[in-house]
Symmetry: D2
Subunit: 143 residues, 4 copies
């Protein structure tokens, strides 16, 4: 994602947007974690589908988590669409989703390798988003 980062730096430097003071490296790290989480969730949902009724909930949560991570990443990339309060709210929802997905996957991590790895990807996305939200809080005006 070096090119992504170069493009983001260019867009951020030429703007007076709300996220102009944020660290591009931290934003890139967060987007990479979201991208990896989306990919792991799509593969996990796909694998679950062949594994019986006990995995139906895992498949549903993973499919939802993939779509939310995808949307969250797309929103971070659109400099003109940044609205701090909406971004914060969506990121909190995505954290909640990734936590629910990780909790479900962790329950079958011992018997299912794809669930074990998907839970890890979710956990990493949660950590990256929490770091990002800390930085966003500082950039937000007092309520």
């Amino acid at each position: 994602m070096n090119m992504t980062m170069d493009m983001m730096k260019g867009a951020m430097s030429s703007s007076d947007m709300p996220m102009k003071d944020m660290d591009p490296a931290m934003m890139q790290e967060c987007m990479e974690a979201l991208s990896a989480c989306m990919q792991a969730c799509i593969m996990c949902a796909d694998a679950d589908a062949g594994e019986g009724a006990g995995m139906a909930r895992c498949a549903g949560l993973c499919a939802n988590c993939a779509d939310m991570c995808d949307t969250m990443m797309r929103m971070m990339l659109r400099m003109n669409g940044w609205d701090m309060q909406v971004m914060m709210s969506m990121m909190q929802s995505t954290v909640m989703m990734a936590r629910a997905c990780s909790a479900e996957c962790s329950m079958h991590a011992e018997m299912s390798e794809h669930c074990r790895m998907c839970a890890m990807a979710c956990d990493q996305a949660v950590m990256a988003m929490e770091k990002m939200m800390g930085s966003m809080s500082e950039a937000m005006p007092m309520a």
Copy 2:
């Protein structure tokens, strides 16, 4: 969306899922409003792109709103993926997004017909989601 509603009724009747007591007609209404809002936002963002720097924020917010409505609708369709707290949080975020998009579009509604119609679609999505959240609140266990 008659077929969508028939499929949802079938899935809901055969389940013991958290949303089994919700009104399928209300869910359908909400998904139709989300779908209409997504479509209006994509068209508005597309039209904005040719209209100069003053419309860049509108384009960004509309593109974000389209992605969030799309994801929200997809999540409502996945019976196995329903997690009441995640759904509630994501719906609150989507309401906040649609309100921000409507507020922006409303500022240029007089000179731009697509913004006027997009704001209407956002407002209708907000109303449908608020109705839906009222019903979800009742279905949620006490915290």
Copy 3:
């Protein structure tokens, strides 16, 4: 989708774009069929996930078909992004996808109501896209 149609008519009338001579009602019909197909495919993939190894392929094809229909509809809504050759190629691919999905779903239509209805939604999307492609062919310059 009355608002969608009004917005499309507005955008088409004020443009010299390649699709300006196409029938908005036919375009709307095609987008509605794509939207219904996406929704049916998401619900079918979700239901498949709890039904064992025999339905894994159905779940995978339905999830893919949902994503392609979603993207095809988004592309039709972006007036500024129309490129006749790309649109034609993408629509042909989406027809092939919906046919493969319908063929798979039809194999278990008797025992699975969601597959029976998903196959119908795919067939209707195929018919609507074929009508649309006929009209696009006429609008394309000779190769």
Copy 4:
């Protein structure tokens, strides 16, 4: 994307699916190129939106290209959904889309840094997909 690759290897080794003989490293390279192209296109479309009527077509093509790359990547990740003919057709359409997007972006590459980089990302996605299609052709049964 190391985790993605590990998950893909696991899924491919335990399957008798049509792509079981393909090189996971090549698949990963293709998915990374699609992901980078999607990100560049979203940023380019977002930046275009503020730059006047001359960039409207660029914004529309980039938004379409982002959605197609996203869908193509999702389809590659779903082992159970692989249908060689559909995958080949969708990849050909995505190549056509990325070429059209690159051609448009290249026209304003000198004055617009985001277009220059977006064109590069499109070109790299095209190359990775062409390599992938070569390998898929060999895996396909004779027609």
